[in-house]
Symmetry: D2
Subunit: 230 residues, 4 copies
């Protein structure tokens, strides 16, 4: 609900009205609010209760960068410790699905949807595949933050004239990442994971410079403050 843009930054969130709106009792609402505060999505309101936080561009960009670090490390662990055959097969299925979606003269909406689905699967496979539970927990808490998820910054791309090319570029990085895992190249896998999110960070910058366009495509962007952090 929050990530769908139904609230604007600074809007008060109080237990009772929220519980009524959701048709729930107060206790689960209170627990949910506590958890959202922990994840940094809402903050205590001066007038009591909570209010929506305003995110600076810098905060979002930083969270995306940490995602790159964490995903890169997961891929590095797979390269170092070896990936199972079923995992490699599933990753190659993703590569094929992505090839079909992006290597054509023109992508339509179905191709776009297929790419997003493949992209989510690909990134989930790598996180689930690495055996490090603490790393997975870090990833989960990052995913709760706005725009940090792997496909969060994709919608913008379809509206960019060069969007198609960037998706091809991103998908080439998927290929390189799988190759690095298969060849045991851990340093390369780490670096590719980090470089991969630079496309998302660039798209974020692009969106922030075209607020009207962005607001239509990504309602959640309203959470981003007008005064971007440096």
């Amino acid at each position: 609900m929050i990530l769908k843009g139904e609230f604007v930054p600074g809007e008060r969130l109080a237990e009772i009205p929220l519980a009524e709106r959701l048709g729930a009792s107060r206790t689960p609402v209170r627990l949910a609010l506590g958890s959202l505060e922990h994840e940094g999505l809402i903050e205590p309101s001066p007038g009591g209760g909570y209010q929506m936080r305003r995110f600076t561009l810098r905060e979002i960009s930083d969270a995306i960068r940490v995602r790159g670090l964490v995903e890169g490390f997961a891929a590095r662990l797979l390269a170092e410790e070896g990936a199972t055959r079923p995992l490699l097969r599933a990753l190659h299925d993703c590569l094929s699905a992505g090839d079909k979606a992006v290597y054509k003269a023109r992508m339509d909406l179905d191709d776009y949807a297929a790419y997003v689905e493949m992209n989510d699967t690909f990134h989930r496979l790598i996180m689930d595949g690495c055996g490090n539970a603490a790393l997975k927990r870090s990833m989960e808490s990052l995913m709760g933050q706005p725009f940090a998820a792997p496909s969060a910054m994709l919608p913008m791309q379809s509206s960019m004239e060069e969007g198609h090319q960037w998706m091809q570029q991103a998908h080439r990085q998927h290929h390189a990442l799988v190759q690095a895992i298969e060849r045991g190249q851990g340093a390369r896998a780490q670096a590719l994971g980090e470089e991969h999110v630079e496309i998302a960070r660039m798209n974020l910058d692009y969106a922030s410079e075209r607020p009207e366009l962005a607001a239509n495509l990504m309602p959640g962007l309203k959470l981003v403050g007008v005064h971007p952090g440096k």
Copy 2:
């Protein structure tokens, strides 16, 4: 309380008895339990309520490794983006305090305490100094896990015959880390942060092979299951 070893793995934690024991009402206890579950310290009990989780060595070792990744990245950001003068001064104060504590023929308990305090300050300065809020949040959630904190695996060292030498080694890495930050050597800072925790991981292995010794020095170690993960 949990990290102090007052509960053993598998022990049931129910709201009402806990609230009585702590002299608190049920709601804050319930919120605290929800939060502990989120951090992976307790798990739902088959008989209702929660129970203490049993940690494998592998889980703890993995969490320490993620800490190295996160601290290394914080140091890398400082190297790349530059550290402020007051921060560098504070880091050098830590280096001096550590030099005094470890570069002597024999460390006594005061030296040991001084080193632990310096060590906590040093690692906190680097995390606080890097401007990335998402990275700090990842670090905070790691710190909630048993034995992942910077000084968590130190106590064992004082009882090892080579403990003193390992603290000297760790402190040399502190020196190298500050040098890397000052010289803008980001790749080196990242690698030093990751290598630094290898000492903690080695101490964990050491402790796990001497359970009687370890249990006296670190009551929290009872949380670690007898059947270590591979």
Copy 3:
């Protein structure tokens, strides 16, 4: 002469006939042969004198990989120690020249020539810009080996159906490399330098599987043995 493919692997190179063919005296020819042996291009012949060495694919691919390491390190040093304004300006001129050559619907031969010239300049600027003389010397000795030079594996690309796309991809890496240098991101610069040569290594594999095509476009490829190293 050698790199132009005028000799085939195993062909004998003797001082006197070579001196006559080149219209030179024997001493400089002997010095040149000694130097070529040092660089690994020729080897002592069982029948006296020297003979052309046969290169395996693996050797060439390995030399290209070392070039990536060395160029990546040069870029890392620039990121860590800072690049001068004139150097950054010259790098940005390269980026613009490359943009003009590759971001169009169809590249013609002039675009291709412009890209090759820009590419050579770009890589030379980075090596010359880094202050490490020993690194430059390593680069020079690598450049003497067949196909290790930055533009050596480009000719093949224009004949590949996807050649144009690969040049766009390579040029995007040029952009990222300059950004990494400007932002002080040394680890990223190192990794980009290493990833950049993966395109050349892929082209080499491509060429080796189409020997007839490759021989026309790159006479020097005759030096590569028919039995590729694993």
Copy 4:
């Protein structure tokens, strides 16, 4: 002869007197001089012939850093592609020999000699073990430069009060390097190779600040100019 310090920077080296002094004919002397010029050890003299080059501290320090890069890459390749059993056995023999030499209350001259021999073997095993011929050639040409060889900066350490401790530190890095190779941790192996030479670079700085002491222990140091590069 040159590295033994028999010539001072700026001293002229002419073919005929050198040939007489060595009891050799002029041609091999000329070839040797050409090769030394290529390696950067001598330079053309304004008065004809060659003269000894003067090395700045910066040049030597840079060459050592490139050695760290090259050795780190060799170790990374071994970690990524796997080391053979005999190689691992030989590396472990080195670790044991080093343990015996440095982990004692006081090192005597025999321990010192044993460490130097082990150190040379260890570094040679890693370079020879990696399958990349171009990388080996880069290493060989680095080894021709003054003070770049693995044990070149060790002699100084025995005269430092903390020399013994630094050798222990360096040997702990040998242990970590072998562990990284065995565990497939390529990124770690690369970083350890680079960090390893920081001890040599530090010793070089130490020696340069105590010229009288250094000149006795390392005659070759005369090649280093009095005006160190920045």
